[in-house]
């Protein structure tokens, strides 16, 4: 459903990523791995429309979306749980979800909210609480839940487990597998290689903005040391 071809992105004259080919299919998880500064966040933010795409194309559901505004991409079914989560801390959990489903009519938003709260029952207990007062894990659930309120076909999660308690990481991964079962495509950026490899249907490793390794999940699971060796690499220029 999502396909990047010869994709490059960056900030003004700074080129962050070059020559990337990447595919996410419905009902599959593509893991985008790489050391710090490799360009994972830049790639995700460019797919969401927040970072400028310099080269290549982004195709979603067979249409070229390279030049569309972020909101239009959301409408077409691309949702984002960004790095640092960026929930609205002064809004309640319910209000954060309302914003996530802003493009939908009330009835549709209510259905979306119900399925989010079924996926993350902890959020149901905290609906009236300010989002800023949630634990890290709950904030991540809220970031994913807010993204799901738009009823996306593709969910992108940047640094799913960063700073979370292990029990919370379990819950979040379980949720991703459930979404995958529902046919949603997932693009996952994750520091915890073992977890990412275990869940992934495809693996792409970025180093210094270039593809260092790409394989399907089966194959990547067979040579985890190979993947690890790339992650050990420091940023090169």
């Amino acid at each position: 459903m999502l396909e990047l071809r010869g994709f490059g992105c960056g900030y003004g004259l700074v080129q962050a990523v070059e020559g990337l080919d990447l595919v996410v299919r419905g009902g599959e998880i593509t893991a985008l791995l790489g050391p710090n500064g490799a360009g994972k966040t830049s790639t995700i933010m460019a797919i969401a429309g927040h970072v400028e795409t310099h080269a290549g194309t982004i195709e979603f559901l067979g249409e070229d979306i390279t030049r569309l505004a972020p909101a239009e991409r959301t409408r077409r079914g691309i949702a984002l749980a960004p790095e640092g989560r960026r929930i609205f801390p002064d809004l309640t959990v319910a209000e954060n979800l309302l914003v996530g489903g802003y493009t939908h009519a009330a009835a549709e938003a209510a259905r979306a909210e119900e399925s989010v709260l079924t996926l993350f029952p902890r959020l149901r207990e905290r609906l009236r609480q300010h989002a800023g007062s949630l634990s890290g894990g709950e904030q991540q659930m809220l970031a994913i839940g807010r993204a799901l309120m738009a009823r996306p076909k593709l969910l992108m999660v940047d640094e799913l487990s960063l700073g979370l308690m292990p029990a919370m990481v379990d819950l979040c991964f379980k949720a991703l597998l459930e979404l995958k079962r529902q046919g949603i495509g997932v693009l996952l950026v994750e520091q915890n290689t073992k977890r990412a490899l275990a869940a992934a249907d495809r693996v792409v490793v970025l180093v210094s903005g270039r593809t260092a390794y790409a394989a399907d999940g089966e194959q990547a699971r067979r040579d985890p040391d190979m993947v690890e060796s790339f992650l050990g690499l420091k940023e090169m220029t």
Binding site: A48, G49, H50, P70, A71, R73, T74, R75, L80, P82, R86, F88, P89, D90, L91, E95, N96, L98, V99, G100, Y102, T103, R146, A150
Partner: protein
């Protein structure tokens, strides 16, 4: 009893400051602009209200027309002055804002004359109530009632409506809010509309209380509004409301105890300096 009366008068002024300062806080919170030109919106509201009152004989008409005129001018200033320079550093907008204030003040002088105008039949000013040895007039009563009503309406808007939630989300993270389909431009217009209607109503009230509307009447209250939003911790709505009331009361007592040294308007800034020395993040600010 005298001290209670001073307290009461201070709180009444505090309510009016709150109507003025809330708008400044809203604009600052969304755009990081110190919207000094809000003073012009306040003055326009007062002039249009006065003209309407003198023309129709109705004070209700004064408030409706004053609020409408102000509500049109604020978003217009956003569109024509701030929007083209949003990507510049904030002081550029501040300078532009001061420019608008100065130009409009001269505009008022040219249109309506330099000496100011009075209400022909200011019944609210002459209607007074006495209780427990104190006297207030109907304008002062309305200053409190209008502030409570409008600020409550604002609270309902911000917390109970979709548009209000969208507005708060935009204040917190504009790029994220926009990506969910919220129109950030729409939010900005609503923001200026709310700020300006509050300022327009405050302008009519102050005009009635002084029974005088003159070209420079907005300047002092706008600069006080800036002092208030700094005291309130820049961008904080509860801080702004608290600081408005506190400043009203401090001025009220200050005019009695410091009147040999300082005039009323200087007290606001002395107070600002003292508070910032003790609490650099404002009255309710962190630490």
């Amino acid at each position: 009893m005298y001290y209670v009366e001073l307290l009461l008068v201070g709180l009444i002024w505090g309510c009016t400051y709150a109507m003025m300062a809330l708008g400044l806080t809203l604009v600052y919170g969304l755009l990081r602009i110190l919207h000094v030109a809000q003073a012009t919106v306040f003055t326009l509201g007062a002039y249009i209200g006065l003209l309407a009152a003198n023309h129709t004989g109705s004070l209700a008409a004064a408030f409706v027309t004053g609020a409408l005129a102000a509500g049109a001018l604020g978003p217009l200033i956003y569109r024509l002055v701030y929007q083209p320079i949003l990507d510049r550093p904030p002081f550029v907008a501040l300078v532009a804002s001061i420019g608008v204030l100065v130009a409009m003040e001269d505009g008022f002088r040219l249109l309506f004359g330099p000496y100011g105008l009075s209400f022909e039949n200011n019944v609210w000013f002459t209607t007074t109530y006495s209780f427990a040895g104190m006297t207030v007039n109907l304008v002062q009563v309305w200053m409190v009632v209008a502030a409570v009503l409008l600020l409550s309406a604002f609270a309902v808007f911000a917390t109970r409506t979709r548009a209000g939630v969208a507005w708060r989300a935009t204040v917190s993270d504009p790029a994220m809010a926009e990506s969910f389909g919220i129109s950030v431009t729409g939010v900005r217009y609503v923001n200026f509309l709310i700020a300006s209607v509050l300022a327009g109503v405050a302008g009519v009230l102050v005009g009635l209380l002084n029974n005088l509307v003159e070209p420079g009447m907005g300047g002092v209250i706008a600069y006080k509004g800036l002092a208030i939003i700094v005291l309130g911790g820049l961008g904080s709505v509860p801080g702004t409301l608290a600081a408005s009331l506190v400043l009203g009361v401090v001025e009220s007592y200050g005019t009695v105890f410091l009147d040999k040294l300082l005039d009323r308007d200087a007290i606001a800034f002395l107070f600002l300096i003292v508070v910032l020395m003790i609490r650099p993040h404002g009255l309710l600010g962190a630490r």
